[in-house]
Symmetry: C2
């Protein structure tokens, strides 16, 4: 169960004193399944690193329907506004879909992070990788059918299909649970 500091090799960029100060801004905690960590509109949107378990971020539209923006299993970072900017209200909800061990980067931590005139490359690299994921998702949403998106999801995140309930996969794919059920039926039939 690696910590954020381990995962990003942040230590290598800092003096021991700086490292300790940074660590003091990171709070480890346990969250129960279903626990809501952040609600849309909250200020000082915290950022979370998942050591164990799985979080998700999602929006809720006018009709009360949830749309999952991302899943965050072990090793992932998740925040409520993809902008890590301070004082901007969260755009998403975040909750735990499994009992999880997480690290919380609080307001002071983010502020300290903001002050630095440069950003460690591993952090930048992680962001860049995530951009690629989002880009791919947009292209898929624009050009692929629900079936194709589901197959792509299975190929890209085989483990998630086991871990999360089907209705959440549907929510992530941008379709209804009923539609996903029918797609799966079609796959089962057509396969032999």
């Amino acid at each position: 169960m690696r910590s954020f500091i381990d995962e990003f090799a942040i230590g290598a960029f800092l003096l021991p004193a700086e490292l300790e100060m940074l660590q003091s801004g990171i709070i480890s905690k346990h969250v129960a399944k279903g626990q809501v960590l952040l609600k849309k509109g909250e200020l000082y949107g915290k950022t979370y690193f998942v050591k164990q378990g799985c979080l998700r971020s999602y929006s809720v539209d006018e009709k009360g329907k949830e749309h999952i923006f991302m899943f965050a299993p072990e090793g992932w970072i998740i925040s409520a506004n993809e902008s890590l900017l301070p004082n901007t209200p969260a755009e998403l909800y975040i909750d735990a879909i499994e009992a999880s061990e997480i690290e919380v980067f609080d307001r002071e931590f983010m502020a300290r992070f903001e002050e630095s005139p440069t950003v460690p490359r591993p952090v930048f690299a992680k962001l860049v990788k995530r951009m690629a994921v989002l880009q791919r998702r947009i292209i898929m949403l624009m050009s692929a059918t629900a079936l194709e998106r589901y197959q792509d999801f299975l190929a890209t995140y085989p483990e998630m299909a086991q871990r999360v309930p089907q209705k959440m996969i549907a929510s992530y794919l941008g379709i209804t649970p009923e539609a996903l059920s029918k797609i799966r039926r079609g796959l089962a039939k057509g396969h032999h």
Copy 2:
């Protein structure tokens, strides 16, 4: 017509010698309307800064249909794989939809950039802002109708609606030109 160096105040982070070296890796050039700058699959995907004019990046699906990933008017940076990683094949096409003045960051520039253990905060901040744009787009694609997405596009990029042909807006919204035409008719009728 600001340059990349101006726009991101990169100069403030560097010694004069470093700055000059950096500038030597940036090539200014003029591209004609319709000119293709980068094709999907090319290695060493270059990155472009738009001083004047407008570029776009897009994918082409199996049926030959184009899907516009982003427009890049003045002051924007655009690249073919959102990952600025070296040696990864471009995932998108890039071309000029207007005659444009651009700055090209070539392979050496990117390599030099990659070597640095840290990233200037303005560059990071720009990336973070773009993430927020992509996040919003994904939520819209999943939860909003074509009409809502069009209205959101008009509100968010009022100038683009004037500059680019309608079929490209449709392509950006993830719908067909016919569908957009009908949506516009509906708006015109319903409005008085």
